[in-house]
């Protein structure tokens, strides 16, 4: 029997870093299986919210309910092991049940098929980004958080990647942090606008 996937409810979350308040009584609800595009100016707390949902950062007060056990992410930075190959970086996080054919199909869809055995340090910025996306998509997860995943991708590649992400994340809860107004309609996603705390 599969795990029950619940809505994620963020209640009155506050978070400060030193004197700087980043989130103050923040509330939001992310329905199970929905796609949400989180938008807002730099420094408004989008990444902090993502980190709280991923369990990396603890809120000072407030709560997050319904958080899912199986999560994957594309972080703001690539967070790849530079000395290892593209394949090893994916193998690091995926279950053994994920077949090589499945991994190769993902790489092919993301235009990485020729780079599979290359060390990550030899890849361009855009390629590293796609490896990070591949890693998140190939992991068995109910919640996927993507923090500016299209940084460094040209328009053609971006459309190709969006189409593949949509296909692979169907039925999963997807949170996409972006500055691009076109991303929400491209994902048919709800929009959550965040404001900076003055």
């Amino acid at each position: 029997m599969g795990a029950i996937v619940m809505d994620i409810v963020v209640k009155n979350v506050c978070k400060s870093f030193g004197d700087k308040k980043v989130l103050e009584n923040f509330n939001a609800c992310f329905s199970a299986g929905s796609r949400t595009c989180i938008m807002g100016p730099s420094g408004c707390g989008k990444t902090t919210l993502a980190h709280i949902l991923l369990g990396i950062v603890k809120p000072d007060s407030g709560s997050v309910e319904g958080i899912l056990r199986k999560m994957s992410a594309v972080f703001q930075e690539d967070r790849l092991s530079e000395d290892f190959s593209v394949l090893s970086n994916v193998r690091m996080v995926t279950e053994k049940s994920v077949s090589k054919a499945e991994i190769e199909a993902c790489f092919s869809a993301l235009g990485l098929e020729k780079s599979i055995h290359l060390p990550v340090r030899e890849l361009s910025g855009g390629m590293k980004r796609r490896v990070a996306i591949a890693r998140a998509l190939l992991t068995d997860s109910d919640l996927i958080v993507m923090d500016e995943p299209f940084k460094g991708l040209d328009d053609t590649t971006k459309q190709q990647v969006i189409s593949y992400i949509r296909q692979k994340t169907a039925g999963k809860t997807l949170l996409l942090i972006s500055h691009d107004e076109e991303d929400a309609p491209a994902f048919e996603a709800n929009i959550l606008r965040m404001e900076s705390i003055s």
């Binding site: 967070r79 092991s81 290892f84 690091m92 996080v93 890693r135 992991t139």
Partner: protein, 245 residues
């Protein structure tokens, strides 16, 4: 390379000139005399047995320290309480003069095992400290990534911790190998186990055989450097092999 060769030749020239000026074979033999002695020392009975005796024990001490230092360094890096618990032991080993340990170890152990123990003791804190620093310097962002993806500990070791400790471990091994030979031979000179390089050096000192003293020293340096080069090459290849996985 050319400049280094020239520097070595100049150093040998200075040594030869000093030996000729002093003209006291007991105080300083010439490099030529050492070279001549090296051409026939290896055919003497027991030469290879002595080299093998010391090599096996010193290298065994090094490998034991490498294994223990890696294990303790990783555990201490992950658990602060273990680091605190080990702190007085490591500090003591670092601070106490090697001669004190040698004399103390002679009471506990046979002289044949002395160089294993002393090499181990001198190398352990170097490996431990470097591995600990490597673990402490692990990129926190990679650890967070591993937490989010629920990466198992063995994969964390292979893909996150080992790459982080690699430069620290390579440096520690390079320093540790040289030190293991210095400490191991010093232990043998004090313990004088039969059929060791230390015994040969001790005899050379007792009989004022300075040419043998210099020749055995050259042999120790050559073996130490050759083994270090070989070991470091294999270690780098092993890391490269992991990275290609």
């Amino acid at each position: 390379m050319l400049q280094k060769t020239a520097a070595v030749l100049i150093a040998l020239g200075v040594w030869q000139a000093a030996a000729m000026l002093l003209d006291q074979k007991i105080l300083l033999v010439s490099p030529v005399a050492v070279l001549i002695r090296l051409t026939n020392i290896w055919i003497e009975e027991g030469f290879f047995a002595s080299v093998w005796f010391s090599f096996c024990r010193i290298v065994a001490g090094f490998f034991l320290a490498l294994a223990a230092g890696l294990l303790l360094g990783i555990v201490a890096g992950k658990f602060r309480k273990v680091e605190i618990f080990l702190w007085p032991f490591i500090l003591t080993i670092k601070s106490v003069p090697v001669a004190s340990f040698i004399v103390l170890a002679l009471i506990w152990l046979s002289s044949a095992k002395l160089s294993v123990f002393i090499s181990f003791l001198m190398v352990l804190p170097i490996i431990y400290t470097n591995v600990l620093n490597g673990i402490k310097n692990t990129d926190v962002r990679m650890t967070q990534m591993a937490d989010v993806f629920q990466v198992k500990w063995n994969r964390r070791l292979l893909y996150i911790w080992l790459p982080q400790i690699k430069p620290f471990l390579l440096s520690a091994c390079s320093i540790g190998l040289g030190l293991s030979w210095k400490a191991g031979i010093a232990a043998e000179i004090i313990g004088i186990p039969d059929g060791s390089i230390g015994e040969a050096l001790y005899n050379a000192k007792v009989y004022f055989n300075t040419v043998d003293l210099f020749s055995w020293t050259v042999i120790i340096v050559v073996i130490s450097i050759l083994f270090e080069k070989l070991f470091m090459m294999l270690l780098k290849q092993m890391f490269a092999g992991w990275e290609r996985l």
